[in-house]
Subunit: 500 residues, 2 copies
């Protein structure tokens, strides 16, 4: 509220204020229902005592211009101008205006999982986050200071939709270390790999289009494709990755629009697609002319064995669009990922991105670029890999000692997760409720399937919790499991939301 | 490439390397076409001399396993495994897989404008950016340091999709200063107001839905609505804002899905909707039950006169969804804006945002929150407003002295733009080309209309260039204008892309 106070005037300050407000009410500038600022705030804004504002508001109330109610503050009374408003107007029911099917499409599961990480009293085995205590905050602070000094104002201004050129160059060097030769123009910086998924759906998927996904698969990707109207076909994953024999028969029968695959440390199964399968997948994609979206966020997080080349490194005919992220190794909160694809695809993606968010945040892009170019990314990898390997081993050990009666799993060579199969009799809704009582969370597996899964699964994360929390969390989960198995029909849990 | 070198071994290091690579090629781990890392990079990675790698590669070439071409590096030869690849595979024509109509929807204008700001040799009167030299970089550095120290790792981790609670609270206090009483749960943090537009379209607009827009309007919003498949109806804006008399007849005839309006310092016209019109717009929106999207990024950038309450402050029945941004006052590169609406709407928007980018970048949200809560936002406003007022006056002065023969305009009371009407004979495509030669850019007005504009217009920005650049830029523009008027048919400009 813009009120000029004349300290020289003989009119008391509180009357200057009430007079000005009265003027604004009578002129209609403050219409009926308009709420005056809280007294404390207005006092601070006008640099007067709170009692001055109290007096001003009191005078306005006495004049019948405003009214005060506990909890709702002071508002311009409605009847004075009531004639100008339609009598029967009601709060607009926005839901009736929603786009057809909008509420069906979006599942709050992911959002709800994120909220869980903020709870201090709970061991989270549910999320896919790097270990927060390992984040190199001092390096971040130094680099941010240098960016502001060296780059100056442009570090807070716009950048090209495709991303900062220096970052796209750094990413293309990163890609070379993964066996993919590409240049900056082949790279699009995205606001997290989440946006990469959305962008790909946005340029490719018409409602009714068929998309082949692994079963299980990254549940968020399934949401994105469903939300674009795709029909999902699930193809099973075994220890060597997606079953390319099944895939071939699906290609020949349905000619799908896209195959979505996570060949390396598949989320959630942890499987690594064998080199033979990789070559077979490409061969049949060439034969049936099917584009492939390769999602590879865990590439650098291998704890045992030899790395395999991404599909993109083996692809000779531009069939593969490659998606990865800085969120699993560095900073999930910066929301930065990247796509590598044929240049016309990058151009189309950039046009779509322009209308989504114009570009990804500039300061974060500078930060990640310097992390890569100054060698901090590799240093950080060297530091976190042994920690994650130990956490994986700790989880495997405590599972072996306590969970063998109830679950089967394979120890993964990399990535962030154990994927555990449960007996068919276990209700995951029930288990979720019991686990919440035991203060431990996990990802129920149902969301990872295109259709109805044959057996219940859960995904357990070992990167975010400490070794101690992993021990405690698995023991708590096993207590919950025993109750879920022993007393399957206990009534008080009936209200549990059926997330799976 | 993971190659262990045994320094104690009697096998020369270069042969250890070539042997390992040979093994990977023959096992298929490095398939045909696979490119070996550049010699320099592999030498650095393995901590050996470059000549060692040269020798290793030479040996592999001699064995016929790899081949080297200038500019393409060293690659595994293809014929060895050619049998396994289909003979007629070709580069995948991704375009044929594009979603129906995807290429028509996205106009590169905005992206192209952003690129112009990076050109040092050009006076940009085309963008809508704050003055970069006024950005308080020292404050930014101090605050970032404090965030990393106080908040720690969570400042780089995920945050809720709706935004950081502390920022949503700070925004709700900001809204109170604009006359809108709301709480944190009524606020959604977006990745720029660009994403706010996209989100609103995403939850509301089905293909074929009618959206009423002002004429002229913010061209980016028109793109977003078109891209969602909306049919746009334009309603003229005069000096008192949108013509609500026209609007009323459109409401009664068409019952549109949404009205999109910028009531305060309308982009591009600079018009401010009068209080009477604001109340009339709300009254007819109530009567015909039409939702309103109010876009208000320039609210705090008033240089003369008294502020008017936003529609949202006058709205008693939840008809208004309110969109604003930190990009015009603070940092466009952080991509942060916000929406205020009924809580069920906020919930629906958050579900949609979850699948777009999960959440907006966390560190930027902390930065803006401290800017607001520590009073730096208001300090900064006090510093920039007089500068922008002087730049506006400078532009008005130089236009009065030089442009009266060719254009008409009104000096705006706030915002960032002059909106200038040109004689019907001027071709904007021609003017753009001449202006490029004179090294000055502007926004051609055609993109701001839902239909075909009656007269040509251009939008000139005065916030980004200095007073000196404004003078030079307008003079350069007038030279271009005279040439565009004098020689309308000069052949060599025929190739200019018809942006309008």
């Amino acid at each position: 509220m813009n009120i000029q106070i004349d300290r020289e005037s003989r009119v008391p300050v509180y009357q200057q204020i009430s007079g000005k407000i009265k003027e604004m009410v009578l002129s209609g500038r403050m219409p009926p229902g308009y709420r005056l600022p809280p007294e404390r705030r207005l006092a601070a804004a006008l640099k007067v005592n709170r009692s001055t504002i109290l007096n001003a508001y009191r005078e306005l109330k006495a004049g019948g211009l405003v009214d005060a109610h506990v909890g709702r503050g002071t508002a311009v009374v409605a009847r004075r101008f009531a004639g100008a408003e339609p009598q029967r107007a009601q709060v607009l029911p926005w839901r009736q205006f929603a786009r057809a099917g909008v509420s069906r499409e979006d599942d709050p599961l992911l959002r709800d999982l994120l909220e869980l990480t903020e709870r201090r009293d709970l061991v989270s085995l549910s999320v896919g986050l790097p270990a927060p205590e390992l984040l190199p905050l001092d390096t971040v602070r130094d680099i941010l200071g240098r960016i502001l000094a060296d780059v100056g104002p442009p570090s807070l201004l716009h950048c090209p939709t495709e991303g900062l050129t220096v970052l796209r160059e750094a990413v293309s060097r990163q890609m070379a270390s993964r066996g993919v030769q590409c240049g900056a123009p082949d790279v699009l910086i995205t606001s997290g790999s989440q946006q990469g998924l959305d962008l790909m759906a946005r340029i490719l998927i018409d409602p009714g289009d068929m998309v082949v996904v692994e079963e299980p698969s990254f549940f968020v990707a399934l949401q994105v494709f469903r939300s674009a109207g795709a029909r999902l076909i699930g193809v099973p994953v075994d220890q060597d990755g997606i079953r390319t024999d099944v895939l071939e028969s699906i290609f020949s029968r349905f000619h799908p629009k896209l195959v979505y695959t996570l060949p390396t440390f598949q989320n959630p199964s942890g499987a690594v697609m064998s080199l033979d399968r990789r070559r077979h997948l490409l061969a049949i994609a060439y034969r049936y002319q099917i584009p492939i979206l390769e999602d590879d966020p865990y590439h650098d997080l291998r704890y045992d064995g030899e790395p395999l080349p991404p599909l993109k490194a083996l692809d000779m005919y531009g069939h593969v669009a490659y998606l990865s992220s800085f969120s699993k190794v560095l900073f999930p909160g910066l929301r930065l990922g990247w796509l590598v694809a044929q240049r016309p695809v990058i151009r189309q993606l950039a046009l779509a991105k322009q209308s989504l968010d114009l570009h990804s945040n500039t300061l974060g892009q500078h930060l990640v670029q310097r992390f890569l170019d100054d060698g901090h990314y590799d240093d950080h990898l060297r530091r976190v890999r042994p920690v994650y390997a130990r956490r994986r081993d700790a989880m495997d050990t405590v599972l072996r000692a306590n969970a063998r009666d109830h679950m089967t799993w394979r120890r993964p060579d990399g990535g962030f997760y154990f994927w555990c199969q449960l007996p068919p009799s276990v209700s995951l809704a029930r288990l979720l409720a019991e686990a919440a009582e035991e203060k431990v969370s996990f990802l129920p597996g149902g969301a990872c399937f295109a259709g109805e899964p044959a057996e219940p699964h859960i995904r357990l994360n070992f990167s975010f919790p400490s070794e101690e929390q992993i021990g405690d969390g698995v023991l708590a989960l096993m207590r919950a499991m025993r109750r879920a198995i022993d007393e399957p029909a206990r009534g008080r849990h009936r209200g549990t939301p059926p997330i799976v």
